[in-house]
Symmetry: C2
Subunit: 193 residues, 2 copies
């Protein structure tokens, strides 16, 4: 159950056997069925989640009720609403299981404890946040001033997995275009190949 988690951490920092045990103790397993919510808009996100199995999507809902996919989490990913978690404010995000999921969670205050008990873990989280920053910055660069089909190309180049695993509607929402537009773009691309 916790193996993938420890492997994931060990990719970036070294952990002694003892540290591994300590970390294990803090992460509590949880299951989610398809369409269940990990977090709902308005809740305060007070824990960090590692995905052992399954897929989730985080999205925000605007005033008109449209959903905008912010990010996806596959096996081996971490998920949570950083804004809510670190800002201690109600989340504007909703996080939903796209399929049955197996998760490992640590509560924010326990993570603080773990930081001091296992400094390597704090280092790992720092590195993880660096990567998150990178991903968000890339995403932002793409979303400013690219037209719809350029965004799609870019996404395909960066993570072709998304296009295969996810339904069209979600990808459209992720790119910030309507599903009709994305459908037309795909047809175009197909004609040329």
């Amino acid at each position: 159950m916790h193996n993938l988690l420890l492997e994931n951490i060990a990719e970036n920092v070294h952990l002694t056997a003892e540290e591994q045990e300590t970390i294990k103790k803090y992460f509590i397993p949880r299951r989610l069925k398809k369409r269940q919510f990990l977090l709902q808009e308005g809740d305060i996100c007070d824990r960090i989640t590692f995905v052992s199995k399954g897929t989730l999507v985080s999205f925000s809902i605007d005033e008109k009720g449209n959903e905008h996919a912010i990010s996806f989490a596959f096996e081996g990913y971490w998920v949570g609403d950083w804004v809510s978690l670190y800002g201690h404010e109600p989340s504007r995000l909703t996080i939903e299981a796209l399929e049955a999921c197996e998760l490992l969670q640590i509560r924010a205050e326990n993570q603080e404890l773990l930081f001091t008990k296992v400094p390597a873990y704090e280092r790992f989280i720092r590195i993880h946040h660096q990567n998150t920053c990178m991903a968000l910055q890339r995403r932002l660069e793409g979303s400013l001033g690219l037209c719809a089909d350029e965004k799609y190309d870019r996404m395909i180049k960066q993570s072709p997995v998304l296009a295969e695993k996810l339904p069209l509607g979600l990808i459209a929402s992720y790119l910030g275009v309507s599903k009709e537009t994305l459908s037309r773009i795909r047809r175009q691309k197909f004609a040329y190949s």
Copy 2:
């Protein structure tokens, strides 16, 4: 010179006098004149910069030659291209001084040393990255599926300072709209108030 830096760090973590001295040693002062570049597209960003005085803008340039402001850095801010820094790849960002600046810089490899010498500094950087994640996520939420005037409203609400300090063209680029559109939006808002 280093006071603002130490204050900035001390807002989040406690530092002993000795640690403060250590940190000081690693941060090298640098000045930039108006319009000088801190980083140019294609360079590898190998240092982190703290702004003691002045204002800078980071922007990316798309295929058509349009500039897109990614973020601004004022006094007390940190600036750098995280993608390039942590990914060790050529930067797609350019960072330019909007006015005369006084900066403090630490090289990436020295920062790694500093992490082990002063764990509190590593903690500070982790917290800083958390905040960066938050800011980027907020920005992304805003840039997806908000129309031009909503984006402007949102920006005004979140950081009215920007609207005062920065020329219209830069704000437009930050919001991902043309300067003409932003000009029209402002006129509209003005008419209502």
